[in-house]
Symmetry: D3
Subunit: 68 residues, 6 copies
């Protein structure tokens, strides 16, 4: 029954996502006493203009770091 | 007040989504004692590379089924 | 594959929720070309102090309506 | 620790989003006794075909209003 | 149309939440060109045993800090 | 930056959750090129009356299995 949502900054490759699906499913089954077939994982890619920490979008923070 | 999120594998037509909005709103009002104006439904399309069951993305499972 | 979340003001009975599960699953299958076994629905009860419209919690709006 | 998700009809500019990030972070810190570094805000843009009120998508409601 | 979810460590008072609802609604309307009646905000309280940073629940981190 | 939500049928112990936090964080860092401090995981417990598969709540399915 675990339904998992993983919100990520966009840019990971499909290979990275596939490796993550396998390893996270393994980790859930090893600790939560469930079967792989019960595990659903969803990735939500976030653009750096749509995610903010401390009131500033990641896009803006990166731009300021690159041209202070 | 029902706020509903429907996460779907991408690919449904707008007609299918419009029919779903109407029928699900009807179902909610018939069972939860609420008015249509109170119902908000949001569709979230998922790509088959971003959704995994049993540790494998739907994209990968489909590819393996098509070329075993 | 539809994974549905229904956020509701708390207070519905289990009978109402069970009726909603059946009717919403029917509505999704009739419009989105999917099978009942593929449909997962989750109810999230919200307390009236934790949900606000127009800047005011439902609890507060109700209290003001009852004692203007 | 506040993790905030803001689901919006798509179409806002990055400037509007950046102004929102700053003002909402300020509002949270002023009322919830937390620090800006603890606040994460995520914007989720919704297309008008994927969001429905009263059983009708916003796209359809807008189209009907423009050509009754 | 903004639908906002604010996930918080549990423990805030209703007064804090009410103040947050008002100030965040104001912040959204001032920056996103929307009306208060269009804004819905939902608080989700998280217990410190159900939220983890860097692989450790907040409950555990707090306990270790209090009795190193 | 990964922000993870794990929706579970309620009933897991805090030990199981703590083991899951550690192993899932490890799995994410090993596959997504991120640091443990960037990973936030949230558990959402679901009661069996609030989660349905194929139109029937888990509570009902369990009851029918126990007394067919």
């Amino acid at each position: 029954m675990p339904i998992v949502t993983v919100a990520l900054m966009e840019g990971r490759t499909q290979e990275q996502k596939d490796a993550m699906f396998a390893r996270v499913t393994e980790a859930l089954c090893a600790t939560l006493d469930c079967q792989p077939e019960q595990v659903r994982i969803r990735v939500e890619d976030m653009s750096d203009g749509d995610f903010a920490v401390a009131g500033k979008s990641v896009a803006r923070s990166n731009a300021e770091r690159e041209s202070p």
